[in-house]
Symmetry: D3
Subunit: 170 residues, 6 copies
């Protein structure tokens, strides 16, 4: 059976992530959305909250499951016996970072292939941090995240992140 | 009347910012330089100090005024009833970040247009953080900032930021 | 005599750094690897440890010496009376950052020339921070750093940095 | 009066061009769409045909006029006494080419400012040559160009350009 | 059954193409290498010669077949009832061109997904045109193409293309 | 003795080339400017004319000589027993093309090192083709090329190349 893993922090899931999930679920028989514990960043939502939000949103997709992982991603893939990693390649994303990570993972585990999908162009500028920033300033985020995520964000008192808006000009 | 807003942190204003201000002031009848309060970053200069420095430097430009703003930039534009946002597009800047921010702002407020100007090429590598770093190490910054800013920087005890100089070690 | 300085943080030295050192040592009669004190970052290894590791690894290269520096890099070059700065230009590195730094240093000291060398393509994705992250998760780093560095990393209790692995997906 | 020139080959005009024209016509009191004679390329449509198509499409925009020019663009601007040049900056365009051209034009005519606008993201991948190529292979171009342009393309026997489709063979 | 199409001109096939073919053949149950007729370029090898060379090289891969196509690629995919397109994404390739083509094809045929794979980094700078150029100057190409392709190139009197070597310096 | 080769087409030499030549001549004991015969492009100036122009301009630099070459650049380097190749890395140049060429040359001749220098930022947008285009339209090129080159260009009836000016808008 053809399976793939889509790893990420999903803090929180955006329409961009959802678009990649839908595309990957049409190509692969089974897709695992793997939420990273990510001990070194301080996420806005706990690992459990992030998994719950992803689960609620992907519920209609029968071949998609949600899991969490800690430690090296390639070790997680090996435990799951999955050899395909999915990454969304946004036009406005850190393209070089993606390549660097993919080449590093290939060195650590040559049998695992990274597969890049291109999200819808209207989602290509979306990022979780931008969404957190706009929500913190009470901006309207309904075009950026699914309803369940929007409600969760509005309930949460979020730290103010202005960078996405006020324009760092350094 | 044709008005535009040029938002930024201006911590502190550099010759690159000044160049963009001069160009925009020739295209638009009225230009508001909007200094962001930017609660989440710890600026070197207070919002009042930053506004005062900008005001002193742009004093000769009759159609330029200086203001501050807090919260969502697009909400500030709406309050001011201005529909044009100015951004400098440096060859060495975060081009993708600028596009991402502009597309996000367009989603939040489709009636506001982001307009990119290109600073002089000799200013295209200037950044406020670089200037702060060099000043912290007692380097000569007179080619990077106007005299008033230089004096303010020299009076201020600045935290040492070496990255711009010692070379991040890849 | 034709001398050059190769500055960096080297926290720790990777095969990518070593490759650049070897290339530069063939072009120049004398090469100084200059380890930056870098007061503002919290390095994993002390300045002394980093210098010792570099020294051990470059020992076979007769025309390479190891030094440390603090403050403005261009001032260090002037004290050493060296007019050539070496930088590795990785395909996956911050190309724009390198240009910005080189142009800034040229403004501060026009007599000092920055010279870019291209490391082996199989090293072009290597970074010290990635290596620290993988070591922190007990990943195998033997393809990324020389044996002496690997042992030093394994002895050190390193803070967990997951970004390189779990994929920030914002 | 605040006027601007939007130069191009428009062979033929696409929805991407139209989007830039509409944005510029809201910022400036008067906009001249300047169709380049472009003697060195062999256009699919004659200068007259290209002007006619642009005119038909921009007819609803009261402050937009259509003209042609030959020779140096900056000389044309000077004859027209217009100091603002409009360029669309597509995410997927030749960003560096645009900067190079703008800096060159600034050197030739420092009083003329190039102003970059960002077309709608759904148009950011559109190019005239791609549209010509798809039309040549009888593909459906109705999402790429206005109806008048589509009809003109379908009437014209176009030379086959496969690059946009068959994949340049790297 | 999970099938994919890998389109290209393959004039001639390089180790970079072969690497992508091998990766794709491990992910998909069936892979069609589709050689484009490409009427507008003047290929060095005829469509039949290019197909024969690909066939010879991929013979050991049981689930890979070779075909040719003419006209719109998405129409070819539809006729073949395949919904996955493979593209290699080289670090040194025309990344923007690939995105532009993928977004265009998505507009023409939303049901077809473009999937990007990353060739081995040691192949990431390989291009067919570079190989043709080096062969034309009697350079050694054995590290760039399989033996069968090398022999075919050496037999063919190739037009001299110096760009890859003498360095266009404009 | 420390020698280097700076290869190019120099059709014609610009201030950008001259800047790289001057920088390289300060780093190396001996510099050979190698003008490529470049059979496949149709240059504006003959190989002899291009060499003569370079020679006239670099006459004041005692350690610079001018030569021509044909065929594989690395073979030329080997015949000259020079192991350092100089390339200017313009911010607005084809960065990826330079890397691709350097990696290819390294594969063909591992003992030859490519060294990148950064021209003055005010020259970073200069290209020979742009200069030819402006000269063809009787534009003022005195800020782009040395006087000898300007006179040669003005004497020559040049084919009109409008792309640099009229803005290809595809």
């Amino acid at each position: 059976m053809n399976a793939a893993i889509y790893p990420g922090t999903f803090d929180p899931l955006t329409f961009g992530h959802l678009d990649v999930i839908e595309r990957a679920s049409r190509i692969f028989d089974r897709l695992i959305v793997a939420v990273g514990v990510n001990a070194s960043k301080e996420p806005l939502f706990t690992i459990q909250e992030r998994m719950d939000l992803v689960r609620e949103v992907v519920a209609p997709l029968a071949n998609v499951e949600v899991d969490s992982f800690d430690g090296l991603l390639v070790e997680y893939c090996r435990r799951k016996q999955v050899h395909a990693l999915i990454r969304g390649l946004r036009a406005f994303s850190d393209f070089e970072y993606e390549f660097q990570m993919a080449l590093t993972n290939r060195k650590l585990a040559p049998e695992i292939e990274t597969i890049f999908l291109m999200p819808k162009e209207t989602h290509s500028y979306l990022s979780s941090s931008m969404v957190r920033g706009i929500a913190a300033m009470k901006g309207n985020i309904e075009e950026f995240v699914p309803p369940a995520v929007r409600e969760a964000l509005e309930r949460r008192v979020v730290p103010r992140v202005i960078r996405n808006d006020a324009a760092s000009e350094e």
